[in-house]
Symmetry: C2
Subunit: 235 residues, 2 copies
Amino acid sequence: MTAETDPETNIRRPLTKQRILAAAVALADDGGLDALTMRALADALGVEAMSLYYHVANKEALLDGVAEVVVEEILENNADLPPATGPGDWKQAMRSRIQGARQVMLRHKWAPWVLESRTTMNGAVLLYFHGFLEIFRAGGMSYDLAHHAMHALGSRALGFSQEMFNPAPGTEDEGDDEELFAEMAAELPLFFEFMEAIAHDDPDDQTLGWCDDQTEFEFALDLMLDGLDRLRQEG
Amino acid sequence: MTAETDPETNIRRPLTKQRILAAAVALADDGGLDALTMRALADALGVEAMSLYYHVANKEALLDGVAEVVVEEILENNADLPPATGPGDWKQAMRSRIQGARQVMLRHKWAPWVLESRTTMNGAVLLYFHGFLEIFRAGGMSYDLAHHAMHALGSRALGFSQEMFNPAPGTEDEGDDEELFAEMAAELPLFFEFMEAIAHDDPDDQTLGWCDDQTEFEFALDLMLDGLDRLRQEG
DNA sequence: AGCGTACTTGTACAATGTAAGGCTGTCAAG
DNA sequence: CTTGACAGCCTTACATTGTACAAGTACGCT
């Protein structure tokens, strides 16, 4: 099976890094990160595994590329958002961009893991954060506060809050936790009441894991933004 | 090489799950997570790889166990901390426990990755969060607010803020980022000023990655705690 | 036609997790 | 003491993965 000619159009369509990355995203979208192996990716492109290595140094580099594609998707997604004009709307400007990022994460539920496993930045990320910087400045923050703010937001700035103990996306093994809860509730009195009180279901699919639904995400986000705004006012 | 008898004491020391987990932690401590393979672990215990499977279902189960050991270490580490007595000191009680957790994370820099990759909870985690629940209640929070608070704190509750783009612990590939920064600074005007303004070195080894030094951690932590306290007062 | 460059493939290997079944020592019951 | 059963450990083997290496193929240029 050679990939020189596309069987449909019969036109030669050489492999490119872009095509590879796009295929990688698609592969992960249906099948999860585990499905993204070099062989499977090559297969999806009608090519042998080793062919990928001409365009991509190794798998880490591939994931770096995938991460960049995802952030670029955020940038496109947010392209139409109005800029911040001053201290009055910096918070709203941040909020809408972060929500935009979150939309992209909901499209690619594996993306948080890829992003968190990257060790180096890339152009898209820098651009993305540069946008935040503009907003912080428009809001009248010092560089120092802006810097703290970015770190404080952490992964939330990219639209997700990587919580621990998320049942793997796709699989339904939440049952294990339920068991444990029931078991411990007897010994840990508060937990019983607690579990009763907070029982909340999640009808829509706005979840990125255990309890990380839209509501929780926004709660924490606003907590941060409000806190930052207060610090900003204090100078 | 059979493991029946310990060469030193010449006493038979059977494998146990505890010994395996302890060895796993030690292995990861020097060598990182990559060094924690079933074969290497078996080697460290003077045993064959497959012997581990009698005590541990598979590698996922091993990591589950390791995660639990780490949280148990936090619990021990925090055992002596005074309880919260009321609304006046709930924040301090939280703060000291989270700092305690952070100490443990600094001892096991690989632990954040293990914890974040777990999909199910365990007894130790439940105990740990139960302690928080007691504090929240002592502080006069509603269960609902307590619940939000836990999620908002997220991984910070366990002593780390898993930021993106952390140079891998051990390796020094921060250079890549520096390059990128320099490259983009020309096009992104704000960044130049920004980088100048925030340049901060990190003499002590209190870091868990890129900029996640003690200062940043505490900044975000206090932002959250202060915000929560405000919500608490508002009822 | 021939040649060099850009791209692709075939083959092969090492590292890893783990399935399946065999070996061995210990200990209780006969 | 013998016998059997079982807990604990090992041997062998295999599938999956990333990727080194070298040889192959197509295509533009002279």
